[in-house]
């Protein structure tokens, strides 16, 4: 079975360009339709976003998580909003040092200077609901100690309540934002239990530690629900790596590792590291890809995941019949695009965007440095036709976050990636789903 068409890359590009035009037209149409109303909606959006931003930054980690989830899934909210929201990443206040000491004592039984050989009281990285400190164990092992802000669980519940109230003012009347918030709540609450993350670390370490990938080793003796101690991975994040002016070969090497890591996870279809941003990947000196922060790891329901993966081959083949079925199942469409103008806008936009999104899978290699591809993606995210109505299965929130996050990282690295193997991986997964479905029917 081969779900992927082998049409020439060129044709894909032309098609995608048309797609962009359609997208832009709809955006213009959307704006035109707003004209004549008492207030200028676009500037209204901007002001609302700024206002919400101010209130949001007070929500600390929760805001950060919502911002991360929403700003990548730009289809859900207007661009002004996403842009303002993504700023919140840099505004999480650090946990003060006296509190760090007492949390360590409460959790591990004594102050850091007694527990560790060295402990850096200044955090070196911010995690969404805590922060990470460098330390050395008494046996000499270098570790990273992640500490959670006290009372996070309750804070999240209160904050989400507030955030929801804020969002309701913003989204179109009658749209149901509850499923998205439930998804964020579940994920966030799971993230507050660092033992859960420790166990995840163990599983990923067993699954992926190799000459290609490396993940931290969990150190349970120094970990609790609110303190997570793990081995420290030496290496560079994407930004410092790029500052060194790496060769194209080096860029491709790390890009390929990132691409392969994602597709290996897809093939295992057990768990997916769902926090694809540059801070969570380390490029080690021995040429391996280090993956850190396993707080947000998702297991997608089989139905959703199959449909999600099916979007790739169906879009490349422009199999409209199949695409339509998928869109209904995934909640992208709420009605018949042939009869409803609004649904038609969604349908055409999604189809063109979907095609662009699937483009890297078309040939055996793909150059993520291609400025045209970046422009296309940007064009789509900018020109989402109807922007303040949430749509799509709630699991899109994290699946697109991983996938789009991966594309952005690869574009940042400017890597050319070999696709062949990953395409086979997806095909194998789809085939497996098909076999399971047949088995279930018989």
């Amino acid at each position: 079975m081969n779900d992927f068409p082998s049409t020439p890359y060129k044709r894909g590009k032309i098609f995608a360009k048309t797609g962009l035009k359609v997208g832009t037209n709809y955006a213009r149409h959307y704006l035109d339709s707003l004209r004549g109303k008492p207030a200028d909606r676009a500037s209204l959006h901007r002001n609302t976003a700024e206002d919400m931003m101010k209130e949001f930054t007070r929500l600390r980690g929760t805001a950060l998580k919502i911002a991360q989830a929403m700003s990548i899934d730009q289809g859900m909210l207007p661009e002004e909003f996403s842009r303002v929201m993504s700023r919140s990443q840099h505004q999480v206040p650090p946990i003060q040092r006296a509190l760090v000491r007492s949390v360590i004592r409460q959790e591990l039984g004594d102050y850091p200077e007694k527990i560790f050989a060295t402990f850096d009281t200044k955090a070196f990285a911010a995690a969404s609901i805590g922060q990470v400190h460098k330390a050395t164990l008494k046996d000499g092992r270098k570790v990273a100690v992640k500490i959670q802000y006290p009372g996070m669980r309750e804070t999240i519940s209160t904050d989400l309540g507030l955030a929801k109230a804020l969002f309701k003012r913003f989204v179109a009347k009658g749209s149901d934002i509850n499923p998205y918030f439930d998804e964020i709540r579940e994920t966030l609450l799971m993230e507050t239990d660092y033992r859960h993350e420790g166990e995840t670390l163990d599983r990923f370490h067993a699954r992926y530690e190799s000459d290609q990938f490396t993940t931290p080793v969990w150190i349970p003796e120094y970990s609790t629900e609110r303190v997570l101690t793990m081995s420290f991975l030496e290496g560079d994040h994407a930004d410092p790596f790029l500052e060194r002016n790496p060769t194209q070969e080096e860029r491709n090497h790390y890009g390929q590792l990132l691409w392969d890591f994602f597709h290996l996870q897809v093939e295992s279809h057990a768990e997916i590291h769902a926090d694809t941003h540059p801070g969570n990947f380390v490029l080690t000196d021995d040429g391996r890809l280090g993956i850190i922060d396993f707080g947000c790891v998702k297991t997608f329901p089989a139905d959703f995941f199959r449909d999600y993966l099916m979007l790739l081959p169906t879009h490349l083949k422009r199999d409209e019949e199949e695409i339509l079925k998928l869109y209904y199942r995934l909640g992208v469409l709420n009605g018949d695009p042939a009869k409803n103008k609004r649904e038609k806008e969604y349908y055409e936009f999604s189809m063109n965007y979907g095609f662009t999104f699937a483009m890297p899978y078309m040939n055996n290699t793909f150059d993520f440095a291609d400025p045209e591809f970046a422009a296309l993606l940007k064009g789509f995210t900018r020109n989402v036709p109807i922007s303040n109505e949430p749509r799509g299965n709630r699991h899109f929130l994290y699946s697109t976050r991983v996938h789009v996050g991966l594309y952005h990282l690869l574009m940042k690295l400017g890597a050319t990636v070999n696709i062949g193997e990953s395409r086979e991986r997806i095909e194998r997964v789809l085939l497996q789903y098909e076999e399971e479905a047949i088995k279930a029917m018989s």
Partner: protein, 229 residues
């Protein structure tokens, strides 16, 4: 910390642990718990009341000892230093929570500013505030008895919150300290402090309520004298 103080702290901690199990323990019971002779204990503390009072002073001395050993204390912000004081005391109290819950109000709170613990605490908070370079614009004599009483009342309030805090690992108390000291820092750094002082100074001599305040103070004094009797 000298050997004698260390020993006294050891005895006071043993007494606290024992008190939680049986409040009517004897010097002999305590000697067994602390691994010392009853005579030695008596030489340090002629009566039980002094042991209990010293438990609190000992907590403060332990805090000071810990703090002196910390190398990065110099770089702590005002909020961090205040938090460090409050959190460390509560960390220590946490070890003898049963004892502290039963005795704090009687041994410390009702004694006003007369106990060594209260004196240390007030002095330390003032010291932290005075040490802070950002605070230079507030004259030192602004910290008078009223401020001292306010410090004590805040601490008593914190203790009451802590006793009622049933959250896992006292997380809520930690949050309270974090938020409260951040607020205190913001107030201290803002001009509110300076302007309030300026205003208070004026009103102290010009307020139509001066007489009322004087009477209130007299009343408070009488009340606290009655309490200590």
């Amino acid at each position: 910390m000298d050997k004698k103080t260390e020993n006294k702290i050891k005895i006071a901690n043993a007494a606290a642990a024992l008190y939680h199990k049986d409040s009517r323990f004897t010097y002999e019971d305590l000697a067994g718990e602390a691994g010392l002779t009853a005579k030695t204990i008596r030489s340090h503390f002629p009566n039980r009341k002094e042991i209990f009072e010293f438990y609190y002073e000992g907590a403060f001395l332990t805090y000071r000892d810990l703090t002196e050993k910390m190398e990065d204390m110099e770089s702590y912000s005002l909020a961090e230093r205040l938090s460090h004081l409050l959190l460390t005391l509560l960390d220590l109290f946490h070890e003898q929570q049963g004892f502290v819950e039963k005795t704090y109000v009687r041994v410390i709170e009702r004694q006003g500013s007369s106990t060594p613990f209260a004196k240390h605490l007030v002095h330390e908070v003032n010291q932290i505030l005075m040490d802070d370079v950002e605070m230079l614009h507030i004259p030192s004599f602004a910290y008078n008895k009223v401020t001292d009483t306010a410090i004590l009342y805040h601490f008593h309030g914190l203790m009451r919150f802590w006793v009622r805090d049933h959250s896992d690992a006292n997380q809520k108390t930690m949050e309270l300290i974090d938020k409260w000291t951040a607020l205190a820092e913001a107030v201290a750094y803002s001009k509110v402090g300076e302007k309030s002082f300026d205003f208070a100074k004026f009103m102290a001599t010009n307020s139509p309520f001066t007489e009322v305040v004087r009477k209130m103070r007299a009343g408070l004094k009488k009340q606290s004298m009655n309490r200590s009797c």
